[in-house]
């Protein structure tokens, strides 16, 4: 699916990541953990092409990400659902329109997708908030809406950056359940988090692999978290 081969990233003030190699296999569930500032977000951004590695190669769906032009990059983003740390909505559009935005920009007919949309809203528990504007939503509602938007195009890979960063324990459990359900449907999931209790909770529900960034390297973490 997505492959990082000897990847390094350098922000200009020394190397943040070095010699990182990982292969996301279809249907697997990954946690990416590490201290703040270790490069979790950077690593995720390289996975969906928002950042180009300073060394090494990133391959997504058997294409070298570096060689993609802007239109091909847009196509790649449609195949990878991303839940951003700060969600990123269009504040002048309703929640429903925001969730449908990937459909809109890829030229799909919204009328035909109405059932899908309603089902998705019910799944994330936001049916009643469909016409609210993003600034009116709570942190948990925003995260669930972002997840709904990430999966609306039915991508093969879902990448979530700190999806439980701003929500309470109960809400993070709920988000985790949604991600596990997606994983059960065969999606590859990659969740960056520094929330270790969440990872422990997940281990009861899913066969998750934990990747840890430390000393600029990526390691497969042991079971003893």
């Amino acid at each position: 699916m997505i492959e990082l081969d000897n990847v390094a990233y350098n922000y200009g003030g020394g190397e943040l990541l070095n010699n990182v190699s990982v292969q996301l296999s279809p249907g697997a569930f990954y946690f990416l953990t590490g201290p703040s500032g270790a490069g979790k977000t950077t690593l995720l951004k390289m996975c969906y092409g928002a950042l180009a590695p300073t060394a090494g190669q990133v391959r997504a769906f058997n294409m070298d990400v570096r060689g993609l032009d802007r239109d091909q990059m847009a196509m790649l983003r449609r195949r990878v659902g991303v839940v951003h740390q700060d969600c990123r909505f269009l504040d002048h559009l309703s929640l429903l329109e925001n969730i449908a935005l990937p459909l809109t920009v890829s030229g799909r007919d919204l009328a035909q997708e109405e059932d899908n949309l309603r089902e998705l809203l019910n799944w994330v528990g936001l049916a009643e908030r469909a016409h609210a504007l993003p600034p009116e939503l709570s942190g948990g509602e925003r995260q669930r809406a972002a997840l709904a938007r990430a999966v609306i195009l039915s991508p093969d890979v879902i990448i979530a950056d700190e999806p439980t960063g701003n929500v309470d324990w109960e809400m993070s459990q709920r988000l985790l359940r949604l991600l596990v359900e997606l994983n059960n449907m065969g999606k590859t999931i990659m969740v960056a988090t520094h929330d270790l209790p969440l990872i422990r909770a997940a281990k009861n529900q899913v066969q998750a692999r934990v990747l840890r960034i430390s000393n600029r390297q990526l390691q497969l973490a042991g079971v003893d978290l």
Binding site: A74, R77, H84, R88, D91, P102, V105
Partner: protein, 299 residues
């Protein structure tokens, strides 16, 4: 590439229109600028058409007509007129020559001396209209011959005073055309600035659209469509007001001379209707360039 995108632009996409937040300020600026430019263009266009018409008319008459004036004592006037007409008829390159009748000469003098002019008591010269053929007669040769046989005849082929007027009219038309080009350029510049401002103000929106997989063309079209339609409607309003203004100008008339000939006549009224689509095209190109440049700078 332009044709399908133009088609998209006209058909539009209600959903795509909503993704860019409505922006009152730049919208009003674009409307105002394109309206004002279209209004001014109507006048520049009317001026260029009218001065072109004048230049052509004067140039035609300059090439085509001359006046022979016979200043002779009253008893010789008729004889000299006949002699001059005879010479003119023999001259190659003269299509036609005609002595003005007494009534016509009175008519020419009326504006200066009133209708009750006792013309017979005045030493008014006899005028002969000379129309040249193609190729025209040789004015110098004709003058020499007339000098010898009709001493009182003076040939005035109008060159002296018509030529500067024709030149002035042509220069006026050129200035009007340059003004139209400059107005279009100024409009393009202002719409580029407005589009850049709108793109900068919506940087967050563009980023979100890129993140959810929008292609550059989709994002660009959302802006281009908006600016093109604004320019079109602004220019349409400007042209309507401008045409009303031109219509209210006094009509071209004999009495008013050339200054009143500045309006539009007949099918020429269709010319200003070209302005709104042209303005829209200018906006389309300006916004396309601005959007593509800006989007290219983003990741």
């Amino acid at each position: 590439m332009i044709l399908p995108s133009l088609q998209n632009l006209i058909l539009g996409d209600a959903q795509a229109d909503r993704v860019v937040p409505p922006s009152g300020f730049t919208a009003h600026l674009t409307l105002f600028v394109s309206g004002a430019m279209a209004f001014l263009t109507v006048f520049a266009l009317a001026l260029s058409i009218a001065s072109g018409r004048l230049a052509d008319r004067w140039a035609d008459e300059l090439a085509g007509a001359a006046t022979l004036r016979i200043n002779a004592p009253a008893d010789q006037k008729v004889a000299q007129t006949e002699a001059a007409l005879a010479i003119l008829q023999q001259t190659p390159g003269v299509a036609r020559a005609r002595a003005l009748s007494r009534e016509e000469q009175v008519g020419l003098l009326t504006p200066w001396f009133g209708a009750d002019l006792p013309i017979d008591t005045l030493p008014v010269p006899q005028l002969i209209e000379v129309f040249s053929a193609d190729p025209p007669y040789d004015a110098t040769g004709l003058r020499l011959r007339l000098q010898a046989e009709v001493p009182g005849a003076v040939l005035d082929d109008h060159t002296r005073w018509r030529e500067p007027l024709v030149e002035a009219a042509r220069a006026l038309r050129l200035l009007a055309l340059i003004s139209i080009v400059l107005l279009g350029g100024a409009m393009a510049a202002m719409i580029t600035l407005a589009a850049n401002a709108a793109l900068a103000a919506n940087a967050q929106v563009i980023e979100v659209l890129r993140l959810v997989g929008a292609q550059d063309s989709y994002i660009a079209n959302a802006f281009i469509r908006r600016f093109t339609l604004r320019a079109l409607s602004g220019a349409a309003a400007g042209v309507a007001v401008g045409m009303l203004g031109v219509w209210l100008l006094p009509e071209a008339s004999e009495e008013g001379g050339f200054l009143t000939g500045l309006g539009l006549t007949g099918w020429r009224w269709l010319w200003p209707l070209v302005i709104p689509p042209l303005g829209a095209l200018v906006a389309f190109i300006a916004t396309s360039r601005a959007a593509n440049k800006r989007l290219g700078d983003l990741t």
